[in-house]
Symmetry: none
Subunit: 191 residues, 4 copies
DNA sequence: GATGAATGAGGCTTCATTCAT
DNA sequence: CATGAATGAAGCCTCATTCAT
């Protein structure tokens, strides 16, 4: 399918360019060139630059979720499930640094704020395996009785920051460091 | 004092607007309008938009450092000093949410990356009380023997994330939460 | 051919406007308007105003050289070749007064100075039929043993000045005047 | 007189800066700074930048005329008077290269065109010793019967061009060259 | 008179988006 | 469907000129 090909080329090019240069450092024409399509063609697949940015984020999120849920075992103890998730997330981002850079930018932008609000304040209809763990952990008195946003921050704040420094080359995220960091995250939220 | 007035108006307007809309969401003309000055006037105080952004960051950093170092007692135990610093930092940002939003944006931008590099990789000549604590803590076997960037991430990642959520209204950083979060940070880096 | 149309319209508009008002008297927007294109369109054909100015000069120079070399016979006596060239040059400029005004402005600008330096000081790799005549004439003791810049000045200074006055309507360059002026130029440089 | 001091400082600064950088390369503020006066002060002595440019030209022209007429002997033969004038002019410009650069720019600008028109077409009431020589020479059948503009071009075109190249360092105007060039100029206009 | 901070019109350039081919 | 030339609004910045001190 030619259609899908072009779409994917646009997505790939956008990801690489935006991850490296930021939303505002990448004109549509640059994306078109890198994707090997005409500038107007992008608008057959995306309504606007904003749409492109948002939809690219959604595609990435889906990919990440798919990866996270592979092998995820709902019947394991809460701690195991939590550690499984964050370790897989780190694996994913180490393997896909461009995805991390993109998600990070998206998160730190007006786009990301409402998204984050939906997640931590619990938008009805939104499914989130991680938030489920938090709710369950609070219920079962395993986790601290904090708002979900707080648990999220305590658990993911260090990881995101480490990830960033790893990708920028300021630190080397080896197995030992991952091990200790994830344990620290768990200790931070466990009761 | 007219002089200082204009400068301060520009700084204040820039801070408020950029904190809310981001660097790219704020044209110079918007700053001028909000500051109540002509567009050209900004350029009497700052060489360019880039300069404005960078110098505004420096002004904030100086203010923050000044605040942090007030009452800082070099002869207290390492843990006390560490907790003192991060608690004061949180106090500061809770009192000055615009400052936080601005610093966060700066940090997540090309400007901030090289700055962060200098900090965690240790640019010669750069003085940083926090990094000194890390070095001392590693030396005295009080802290984990991680790269400074890792200690920084583990200690500050959660705080920054919490701060953000607090300022965006997703969570309420009360005394209890601050207490527990800062303890968790310490636990994360202590040996 | 639309392509070429726009390019040519821009060139034509630039030439007419700049010839009349000078580089600094012509904003890009004015060129765009006169050319009947959008302001941004100019930048599809030229990188900057500077580029436009420089490339327009080059286009003119090529046209002029092409015209000069038509019918130029390398095996004629030096004097004949010299007179042929300057007469053709005058014919050309009389037929294309805008080209003259443009070249004159370019010559009297920072752009033109380095160009002139390359010509009269002999930049390696630069080919110039006129300078070849000067070199040959000096060698064969037909011309005065002056620096090329001096021969150029003595030979062309009057012509350029006459051209200018003719185009501005201060003098009428008829055949008689051309005849006598070109002879005077030759007399000025011949030994 | 303070007044005159400031005026002169402004003139001097303008001359130096404009000669070097051109009319459009010199903001009023730069002139003010170099002259050691406030920006607004310039406007007490000159109505506008245009006025400044025009009046500066007039001052220079007066100075030059004064210099030219020193030792000028109305009772000498026409040729002697002509050669005397152009030699003095060259002396003057060699001694005052900034004046030359300024006059040249003025001449090659919209300002200079109407001035030149007045000169060569003979504006009533305008006194010009050189044009008098041309008129007299034509009358006495010593000079070619050309329009004054043509005589001017043939006589001065080479000199101006040589002057320019001398000041730019492309040629060295030594006594020999001056001698031969001025003779050539005379030969060019004499009958 | 002198100052220079302030102004804002206007210049150059970029880029998201459209549309004729 | 795809293209990419064309558009023009909008952004950054400069600088001649004014005016309160």
């Amino acid at each position: 399918m030619k259609n899908t090909d072009k779409h994917d080329e646009i997505v790939r090019a956008s990801l690489e360019l935006i991850a490296e240069k930021g939303f505002h450092g990448v004109p549509m024409s640059m994306i078109a060139k890198k994707a090997g399509v005409g500038a107007g063609t992008i608008y057959r697949y995306f309504n606007s630059k904003d749409s492109l940015i948002t939809e690219l984020h959604q595609e990435l999120e889906e990919k990440i979720n798919l990866y996270l849920y592979q092998g995820y075992k709902i019947d394991r103890p809460l701690k195991d499930r939590f550690l499984y998730l964050i370790r897989k997330l780190m694996q994913y981002f180490i393997a896909h640094p461009l995805h991390f850079r993109y998600m990070e930018q998206y998160f730190n932008s007006p786009y990301g704020i409402s998204l984050h609000r939906d997640r931590v304040l619990g938008k009805p209809g939104r499914h989130d395996i991680l938030m489920d763990i938090f709710v369950e952990g609070i219920d079962k008195k395993i986790l601290k009785d904090f708002p979900k946003a707080a648990l999220f921050s305590i658990a993911f704040g260090p990881l995101i920051s480490l990830m960033r420094d790893h990708i920028l080359g300021f630190v080397n995220l080896d197995e030992n460091l991952i091990q200790q960091a994830t344990e620290a995250c768990w200790d931070g939220i466990k009761r």
